[in-house]
Every structure is written in structure tokens, then in C-alpha cells.
């Protein structure tokens, strides 16, 4: 099992969700997040004063998937979240030791 965390542009959420459903990913958690990568935000002007806004609104998706679905999920996110412009986000993948369904004690990939 692997956990996939993807930070994406808020405007791409629907497209990414649809793409993930298409490859068979059913469970996911979506968080509203703020952050920045290398571009360090953007500038805003209020009455002539320049302000650097370095925490931009983002969406963070989290999902735990079986090993065979990891690459498919990554490809689905890449193809649906990409605009080609700076600030498109990142994907992080990590190993998961155990998953347990609270309702009936199921463990492992059957609990996903």
C-alpha cells in the first residue's frame, strides 16, 4: 500500500477527482491548503503599497492505494492537473504499513 499526497491548483480539483475515479480509486481525502513552492507567491498592490502574498490557496488530496494502482493514480493526476504554468503543484508518494477499517476491523488492502 502507498499513500499518495498531491498538492494541486484549486481550479483542477474536479478534473483530478474524475481522472482518479476513472482509474478505480474510490477513497480520498481533500483538504483546503495554503502554501508556496519555488515561485514564492505573488505580489498585490493596495494604495500603491506592494505586498508579497507567499501563501497561495491550494488543494491537497490524500489517498491510500494498493501497489498496482500507484502508477495509474500518479499518471491520472499528472494528466489532469497539469497546466504547464508555475504553481501546478507536487505529488508525494510514501509507503503505508497498515490500513484498518474502523467499522469491521478489516485490515490491509481490503480495508481501503
Amino acid at each position: 500500500m502507498h499513500k499518495i499526497e498531491a498538492v494541486i491548483q484549486p481550479s483542477k480539483l474536479d478534473a483530478v477527482k474524475d481522472a482518479l475515479l476513472e482509474v478505480g480509486i474510490e477513497g480520498m481525502t481533500i483538504l483546503e491548503a495554503r502554501g508556496h513552492g519555488r515561485q514564492k507567491g505573488h505580489t498585490e498592490f493596495y494604495r500603491g503599497r506592494e505586498y508579497t502574498v507567499d501563501l497561495l490557496p491550494k488543494i491537497k488530496l490524500e489517498m491510500v492505494v494498493t501497489d498496482e494502482l500507484v502508477e495509474k493514480a500518479i499518471q491520472a493526476i499528472l494528466s489532469s492537473a497539469r497546466t504547464g504554468k508555475i504553481g501546478d503543484g507536487k505529488i508525494f508518494v510514501s509507503k503505508i504499513d497498515e490500513a484498518i477499517r474502523i467499522r469491521n476491523d478489516e485490515r490491509g488492502s481490503t480495508a481501503l
Binding site: 498585490e44 498592490f45 493596495y46 494604495r47 500603491g48 503599497r49 505586498y51 508579497t52
Partner: protein
């Protein structure tokens, strides 16, 4: 037989009619009818004037209540939103009571050339009969309550300069005293009977100020600057980002100000006549022109016309047209607006950073600078074609009003009016600030300032983060 019955019936009918005519009053003479008609017309005019002025008074109050409170409220950080709104609201309550007790008398009772007398303390003698010196067709109470709304918004404007760092108690004490020491004398000089600058009631230096360019905007703007310098900068200014927490609130507030300003300027005609129309049109045109010129300046400089820039520009235009509203043509109003937008933008963007004062919400940059500019331009553009305030010559020709008519001397009078307003604002404000600072105290502690004035001064928060 039938014809004789008919004859008797007709005779009876005629008799009855004749009797009833004989019983009614004798027909009135033409002179009586004319007199009665004239009285009805006068009454109708008076009712129209009174209705318009009551609506105008309400519009001016709307400028302070939702208008200024939202405009300023959106410009501060979220931890101070209520404190700023509360300062405007407090003026609505506090100045109203002060006005009834003493301030109206000091402003509008015939006293000396500098300040009114004390005959109207506790509104004594301020009833429902008109005072022809001020407004012949209005109950004096209408005039009184209309002027009260000006007295409310003027100190409320100052709060923009010391936003986010002044104690509520110190603010209240300072502005109560300010309304007595600065506002009332200035209002008396410009609008009161026998006032030094009164153009229509025999002042020594006739200064044209239709709706309060010097009385409202110069006094508040200059006092705002003095207060901002006296108090010092907010902690972290100008290094720390102090972005407006909601331009949306400011946007709504500015639009309410624009609408309310029709009561402020067109109402200053003190009648529902053609002069009100003129002031109404000028007000609107100047605001639009200034919104465009500020936004255009920003567009050129930053590459984008911001909403905050456009609304700030409109307020600058409204300020600048205030003294001129009832004296200039619509095209002059557009010119005044265009100049005001650029000038105030320059004052807010450049001059403030050159001198380094922390006028938090640009009360001086917009009201002090815009009011001063507008007062001078009033002397330039005023024309007797719009308002023959100085009357007519023996031959019946209107006496030139301003530079547009060739009376450039009026510009000098305007300078005198502005200079007096600056002087009384600087001296009066400094003395009062020192007085309140030594007794009640003016500034919150650094800890309170960092925590925010909503919690530390009022024990509440504008936004509930938990729910």
C-alpha cells in the same frame, strides 16, 4: 296640465337653488384668492424643502453609519475591524448629545466672528419655526439636525488616521473636545451668522464652502495628520504587511458614501430647488472623474486598475467637489474630479512614504489634501452663472463669483479660509492630544496593539474563527 306641473317643479327647484346659494359665503375677491393660492404654494414649497432636507439628513448619517464604518472597517486588519466601526458609530451617539447640549449653539448662534454664542444651549429656542438667515422654508430643527450630521461625520473621518492603535476612551475624550474646540468654531466662521469667512452673511473674508470643504474635510484631514504624527506609527509599520482585511467591505462602504454624498452636497442647497440639482450633478460627475483618474494612474504605474484604487479615487473626487458643488458648472466638476484623483493618489502613494507618517487609512491623503485642493479650485471655477451668491450690481448684472468670472481675488479668500482651517486644526488638535494623553492616555499598550483592538478595547471579535 302637464306643462303647468313642470313649471311649478322648475320654480321650486330654482327657489331651492336660490336659497342654497344665498346661504353660502359670498364669493371671495380676486385678491383673497390670490393670497390663498400664494400661501398654498409657499406651504407646498416649504413641505418639499423640508422633505428633501430630512431625506438629505438621513443620507448624511448613512455616510457615517454604514458608509464610513464599512469603508474604514475593510481597510484595517481583521483584529481591528470592530474597533474602527465602533469609532464611527460612537460619533453618531456622542456628537449627537454634544450637539444638543452645546455644539449647535457654538456653531450657529450669532456670537463673535470666531465662535457662536450660548443662547441655544440645550437647543433652547430651536423650534419648528424657520430662521430666515439660515433657511427661510425649513423648520429650524430640520436645519439643526441636518447640520448635526456634518458634525458627526467630521470627527469620524479623523479616526482613519489613528486606526489600530488608539484607546477607545482616549479617542472618545479627544473627539468630544475636538468637536468643541475645532469643529464648532470653524463651522461658525464659515456658515454661522457673522462668521469671519461667511460668504452669504457678511463675513470679513467671504470664503466659498458649499458643503464643507474647509469645515469638514480640511479640519478633519489636517487634524488626522497631526494625530497620526503625534501617536507615532503602528508597531511594525512600514516593514510588516498591513493589508486591508476585506476590500469587499470597503467597496460597499465607498458606494454608500457616494450615494450619501448627494445628501451632503445637494442637501447643502437647503432647499429642493435648482441649486440642489446643480450640486447633485456636480457631485456625481466629480466622483466619476476622480475614480477614473486614480484608477488610470494606478493602471499606468502598476499595470492594473485596482478596485480599492477606483473607490479611493471616487472618495477623493467627492471630497474635492464638496466646497464647489453649488458654485461650478458640470464640466468644471469633471475637471476638479480628474485633478483630485491624481493629486490624492500622489499624496497617498508618494508623499506619505516621503515623510514616513503612518496615516493608517489615508484620512489626510484623501480628506485633508482633497479638501484643500477643492477649496482652492472652488475659487478658480466658481461662477455667478450657477450661483450668484454675491448678489447683483446696481445695473442688475451678477457680481463675479470666482476666477471663472474674472474675480481672481476669490482664490485669495479661499486661501485665507484654508489657512485658518489648517491653523485651528493643527493648534487645537495638538493641545487636545497633549491634554488627553496626560490624563486618560491615547495609545494602547504594545501588547494590546498586537492582540488587536477588538478584543482589548471591546471584548469581542468581528469574526468567529471557531464556528
Amino acid at each position: 296640465m302637464r306643462s303647468s306641473f313642470l313649471g311649478i317643479f322648475l320654480a321650486l327647484a330654482l327657489f331651492c337653488c336660490g336659497t342654497s346659494f344665498a346661504q353660502s359665503a359670498p364669493s371671495p375677491s380676486t385678491a383673497d384668492q390670490i393670497a390663498r393660492l400664494q400661501a398654498q404654494v409657499a406651504q407646498a414649497q416649504s413641505s418639499a424643502d423640508n422633505g428633501w432636507m430630512l431625506v438629505s439628513a438621513a443620507l448624511v448619517l448613512m455616510m457615517t453609519g454604514p458608509g464610513l464604518a464599512l469603508f474604514y472597517g475593510g481597510l484595517v486588519r481583521r483584529k481591528n475591524v470592530l474597533s474602527v466601526m465602533m469609532q464611527s458609530f460612537a460619533m453618531m451617539a456622542i456628537i449627537t448629545i454634544m450637539w444638543a447640549i452645546v455644539n449647535y449653539s457654538l456653531a450657529f448662534d450669532a456670537g463673535t466672528t470666531f465662535i457662536g454664542g450660548l443662547h441655544h444651549l440645550f437647543l433652547k429656542g430651536v423650534g419648528l419655526n424657520p430662521d430666515p438667515d439660515y433657511a427661510a422654508t425649513l423648520p429650524l430643527q430640520t436645519f439643526m439636525v441636518y447640520q448635526l450630521m456634518f458634525a458627526i461625520i467630521t470627527p469620524a473621518l479623523i479616526t482613519g488616521a489613528f486606526a489600530e492603535r488608539m484607546k477607545f476612551s482616549g479617542m472618545a475624550a479627544f473627539l468630544i473636545l475636538w468637536s468643541i474646540v475645532v469643529y464648532s468654531p470653524m463651522a461658525h466662521m464659515v456658515w454661522g451668522k457673522g462668521g469671519l469667512l461667511n460668504a452669504s452673511l457678511g463675513g470679513r473674508f467671504p470664503c466659498l464652502d458649499f458643503a464643507g470643504g474647509t469645515v469638514v474635510h480640511v479640519t478633519s484631514g489636517v487634524s488626522a495628520l497631526v494625530t497620526a504624527i503625534y501617536l507615532g506609527k503602528r508597531i511594525g509599520y512600514p516593514k510588516e504587511a498591513m493589508m486591508p482585511h476585506s476590500v469587499v467591505l470597503s467597496f460597499i462602504g465607498a458606494c454608500l458614501l457616494w450615494v450619501g454624498w448627494f445628501g451632503f452636497n445637494a442637501g447643502s442647497a437647503l432647499a429642493a430647488g435648482t441649486l440642489a440639482t446643480s450640486a447633485f450633478v456636480n457631485t456625481h460627475f466629480a466622483a466619476a472623474a476622480a475614480a477614473l483618474s486614480w484608477a488610470a494612474a494606478e493602471w499606468i504605474r502598476n499595470g492594473k486598475p485596482s478596485a480599492l484604487g477606483a473607490i479611493s479615487g471616487s472618495v477623493a473626487g467627492l471630497v474635492a467637489i464638496t466646497p464647489a458643488a453649488g458654485f461650478v458648472s458640470p464640466m468644471s466638476a469633471i475637471i476638479i474630479g480628474l485633478i483630485a484623483g491624481i493629486f490624492c493618489y500622489f499624496m497617498v502613494i508618494k508623499v506619505k512614504s516621503w515623510f514616513g507618517y503612518d496615516d493608517s487609512l489615508d484620512a489626510f491623503g484623501v480628506h485633508g489634501a482633497g479638501g484643500t485642493l477643492g477649496a482652492i479650485l472652488t475659487g478658480v471655477f466658481a461662477t455667478s452663472a450657477i450661483n450668484p451668491i454675491f448678489g447683483k450690481t446696481a445695473s442688475g448684472a451678477p457680481i463675479p463669483t470666482g476666477g471663472a468670472d474674472g474675480n481672481w481675488h476669490q482664490v485669495l479668500n479661499q486661501f485665507i479660509g484654508v489657512a485658518i482651517a489648517w491653523a485651528i486644526s493643527i493648534v487645537g488638535t495638538l493641545i487636545l492630544l497633549k491634554l488627553v494623553d496626560l490624563t486618560i492616555g491615547l495609545r494602547v499598550t504594545p501588547e494590546q496593539e498586537i492582540e488587536g483592538l477588538d478584543l482589548t478595547q471591546h471584548g469581542e471579535e468581528g469574526y468567529d474563527h471557531a464556528s
